[in-house]
Symmetry: D3
């Protein structure tokens, strides 16, 4: 009798009999040419995705199960040169199932709680009481989402804790750079850096497991630069931040994509806005490279979509 | 004894002795090579500008007089092929002087009061009570400036009542176009058109006679697209407009420059936003052409700065 | 015994047995792996297209039937998630078959005869006898095609009567706009607008049912801007229009795409040429939006090819 | 008593007393600050230009003398580091004055009659009777202008016989290249090359001595690509050239600027059109370089306007 | 019993039984749904490619056979409208097999040995002993590759002897053009033209039969412009060419792509560098057109990838 | 009797009598209209420049004195609104004159010796012996120039020690960033950063006091990216660095301008090359902002040439 193994998707090989929890993606009921119903789908965990088929489909799984964990038993085969899993048993996960979300969903390569604490500590170093108060207030209003959501739909930081990782790295860079360029107002820079992407929480729609599935309608029509700046304006007024400081922060949020063709509503016109736009680009590009090189053999990579060319991994 | 005439700047000829009220521009105290003080400046009225010099300068006029009316007596001469006025008497205008501002400051070729009334009548035609209420409220908060300021610093509509003229023409176009394209929500289009440039009142600094002298700091750092959208958001919340309608209007304001390279914060993604961006461009270009052709002889014009080439005036 | 229904393509559902007239597209004889001939094709009507297969193919339909009506009997099934029709009987339509072309071929949402009459009435309003005579002559030479062909191969107005609809809408806009901008010569504008796309009749190759299948060789090598201008020059000379007026019209045709990167041979250098290029773009974009939103549920649409992004349909 | 010398403008030195014929440029009557009339102008010959002033101006020379020869006597001095000629006698040249136009007006570095003959000989080598007949006819209609006018207003070939030189060089290149690329139809290429710039004769306004002063109105509104193609179409019809051949030539003329941003009405879509656009660019660039390096010392040149950077002259 | 024919891939028809030598491309072992191994691949010769399948695969052919000749026996069939060959016998070619490489691998339409000799003769015409010596030395170091490799991975000249053909044609053009533009240093131009692409030998990885399969790592990170210039610098120093001449040649290599967006490291700043970049572009475009038109019926071609549009083949 | 003061150029006021050492710029002998010789020039120190005139010019100063110190006595006056110095005595500085070069020539706001030592210490932290050895060797060969020259001709870092300051700041950033992005090879990054601009010493021509006056011929024809990479290649070979490491460094130098339109010969294809290009841009932009804001009042600055717009100085 066959022995079922627990395996990560990336490690599955032809003829493996596997069993375990996976995320169900794009479940699509189909019909064979002779009229039989079956279910076509993909199974995913943090390590990758595999095509799947369930021949004994009786209508028990639907679109509403998409993006949620299922329990599965099946066998891996080769179909036209690609691996595929033929499932013999499949059901939605239930309350109480022993599911490890970190194994199912890709996460940032950081320790989230510790990183969160370090980010809060950096806010504490802001000297100007108004900028500090604003950050504390913005943190209070966005804590839950900031501490878990991705920083992007794809391209880079598109995993759990992505926004936290990106924001924390950039605040470290802001802190460091302000020592080299004394004409930069460190407090303004730190506050603008902390706040710059907070509105991404409103820009995206999130899947049940916290990944970005699409833009929200306000995200699509207004964008996170505008929504973030509006929130700065509103909170500043509510807690009594000076108009000048609020305006300087709004300018940083509106301009942090650097150039109109990259989505900036205005171009950066202060030292702090310029520096913010550059460390944002720097951290995004470096994370993009990390993800492109990760697990790759030395040599040329696949073409990196957002760069338009291949990287060279010198190992 | 010489007889002083009242003449428009455009009509002045060499050897004319002229007297009258003009705007003083760029008054600059200078010193001749032998150490004598004199005042260099330009005199302007609605018809044009002329260089001027006042040899008996005793310090009575300063930078604070710039942009304000002065009373002048002097003689027109030719200096290296250009007309110049040598002033013998000059003083700041006083309370009670018989000054006709319309003769001094260029104005839109419209009848302002009648145009204002017609614009308000168009607002009255909006059926949706929320969009209509918003327009009424925005009008109440911006009435004074909307009814007089220019629509631009230069290029087109850079005269008194310019914003009123531009807004009214565009609302007429919006009204007309909505009949051809029934999938367009006329009320949304009319409201967005009315509001689209209202924040220009905050984007500019105005001279004593109501012309744009420069961008304000918020205008320079935030821009009228953002400031206008923020005001829509704020007013909508205060008077209870639905979130969806407020968002659709904010989107129209953020996108009305059409493309990122023309300053749009987002691209137009609704029928109404797209139509607004096109009638804005259409009215701006046509006014630009009107100003470029006005008073020109048939034939090629000078190169039009914002187009980058010459127009042909077929008379 | 099965009952055959008459259904629009858009309304066909799996397991329907259908019968009726459709356009045959891309008929392609193929061979199964065991050597049996069959015919693969698409069936189309004004509502959409569906893939089709005919297993009993005996060579009776060929490439020459492409784009023409056929009579069909068959059953709808699901093939890998897409609808497909398996045809049991198929033959070319014959003289006398009860075919309703409006049901088979997509048409502009206008009443063609009435629109044609209104367009001719607008020509009658031209005061200048030369511009009017030119339009009357151009109409006489292009009447048949102008009254039925599409205005485009794809993107927008790519249906029967498309050129008529586009031309008539633009002439209405020209008429309206000329009232707002009195420096515009209304007669020149109306004449240029009427003539601007007439050479599209030579630029395209038309299918048997009047849709654009491809560019003609002269259309591809010379383009409708040039061919239209040449025809203006020729007709003007034949009927004795002044050189100046002919030149101004030729300029409008050569420049009506607005910018070199959009195909303009020269940039618009008169008020009328500039206005024509803007109302052309406006009507094209609005029709593009109409077609993109038509029949769509509220929310984001698919990405619109010629814009490069999704529209938002607020319903 | 001072001895007057005959000198080229380029060779004039401070304190020279000179006498001779020059072209009068931009004659501008002016008035000194104490009311005295004088004439300001430039004097030019084929070697260069010098500023001039005539203090005893009595109104005898006007704008109508601009661009025509004058006889002059005067002295060269230094004015703020630039050479200037103070004229004591000046009059318009008269019938019978011993004027050498080649000394006054810059000319192409070719022997015009010989080059003309060689160009005609190349036309004779065209085998296809229709292409040959067309060239012969086009030559007959444009002989006078083709044999003398410049090929440009500035940048390159902006001298007498410029169009002849440019056309002849390009026909040589066309002849040569057709041997390497046998899929090129040599006759079509030769004919298109000969005709490609003939409409420049209509695109420009010429000064009395045959230099380009400005664009004509048809030149500005229609351009030489269009006007040339129209002439091909018209002449072809008159003398009975086939439609296909006429169309291929029209396509070459419309596309010979290579890209829309360089003024092409359509992009080159035949081998001959592509080759024409490349040898046109090649000959224009090489002549531009010749003119930029001519008479320069080894080392970096001034920035070349149409390139946007400096060339290096290695001597 | 079936008779096997020898046929070019381009000439194969359904039901042909064929036998012969072909290149094996992309051999990929796969598994059917019922678990049987088979080999999927393409067979190629100089005339084209065809999909192939070998059902009796026993593991005898691997990735290491890719790009090498195999001997094949099989039958041509139709699979979903495309031709496919079902192979019954296949083996790697052996020492002694009667293989005609020219039939298997596409080659330039030149006679390689004669072209090589003519190219060497052109080098002999260089008068300057330093430039000549450099060319002789560069030839000696690159002879083997120069005389056989392609000039590109795809787009144009991507066949055996492509670099030789391209280099020879360009040297002819350089020789010819230098007569027309006497300010061009012919010796410098000839030397730069000969050397301009030699580093392509290091930029590519070559298949067993001499076609380009990919970029090498140095080719990808440094590029042939830089590598070629470095080799010029190195060889010049070794054999004692003057620094000035070496620098002028290095400049030509670094700039021969004309513009930064086409890969030029610097823009061409000498007459010779400018001319080289233009004849390089000219020969590349003409070869691209030759390959696009070759074997095509008159009319429009497929869209040419590197141009972005269709050519017109007037036959 | 008048008392002469020692004053910085920036502090000079009208009617000051001043005496001291300045740099002489653009000395130009001129002639008044009545034939008298005089010398026109500018005087400069580290604080700024002022126009000067010397009426008693006897030919004692020439073009060869340009850029060198002179001793001057004179009086400041106002000429058409700008300050000017009328010099009564002027002579070239002599050996032994008490000249403080730091007062005459603008210098980087760093302590040069200390910064140099810190930079060398950073080189010492490189672990890989090959990369370290290369840096030590490159330092040895470039020490003198690296320790004093500017990093640019204008725009930013265009002062003494500019290259040292820029290189040191970037090495600090490289050191810092390598801790955040562990897939970056710190040793490669440090070595590439140290070497990236060393060839600027060959790209520029320096004035007698060490400022950049122009590009050298090799700098103009080859550029510092290429020259730097060539030097890496050469030194690596001489001291035995592996080919792989040399290639990775050459790639970093060739790509450090990030994009072709900014002068990159290839785009950055390794993590280290990408990071180098971003910290180069970051440090250049921040220094540009420092120089633009320095000494400015709060508010909008003048338009910053290399950005194309004004910055806002919030004080």
């Amino acid at each position: 009798m066959q022995k079922y193994m627990t395996k990560k998707v990336r490690d599955m090989a032809v003829d493996d009999a596997v069993e375990g929890f996976f995320l169900l993606k794009s479940p699509t009921p189909k019909t064979t040419q002779n009229g039989k119903s079956f279910l076509s789908f993909r199974l995913a965990d943090a390590s990758g995705e595999i095509e799947g088929v369930f021949w004994d489909y009786d209508g028990n799984l639907h679109a509403t199960n998409a993006g949620k964990p299922v329990k599965v038993r099946g066998a891996v085969s080769d179909y036209n040169g690609k691996k595929q899993i033929t499932v013999t048993q499949i059901r939605a996960a239930k309350e109480g199932d022993p599911i490890d979300m970190n194994a199912l969903v890709p996460s940032a390569p950081i320790e989230p709680k510790q990183t969160y604490t370090q980010m809060v500590n950096l806010i504490e170093t802001i000297q100007d009481p108004e900028y500090k108060q604003l950050c504390v207030e913005m943190l209070a209003r966005n804590r839950e989402l900031l501490s878990c959501i991705p920083a992007a739909k794809s391209v880079h930081h598109a995993f759990r804790y992505g926004l936290l990782m990106h924001t924390y790295f950039m605040m470290c860079h802001a802190d460091y750079m302000s020592r080299f360029y004394p004409f930069v107002n460190r407090d303004l820079l730190m506050a603008g850096t902390f706040c710059h992407d907070l509105a991404k929480a409103k820009e995206y729609m999130l899947s049940p497991v916290g990944l970005v599935t699409d833009y929200s309608v306000p995200g699509y029509l207004l964008g996170h630069l505008y929504m973030g700046a509006v929130e700065i304006a509103k909170v500043s007024q509510e807690i009594g931040i000076s108009e000048e400081k609020s305006m300087l922060l709004q300018h940083m949020l509106l301009s942090h994509h650097g150039k109109p063709e990259y989505g900036a509503a205005v171009v950066p016109k202060t030292a702090e806005a310029m520096l913010l736009s550059m460390i944002d680009d720097l951290d995004a590009k470096m994370e993009l490279i990390r993800e492109s090189l990760e697990g790759q053999a030395p040599g040329m990579t696949e073409s990196v979509w957002s760069l338009g060319y291949k990287l060279y991994n010198h190992g």
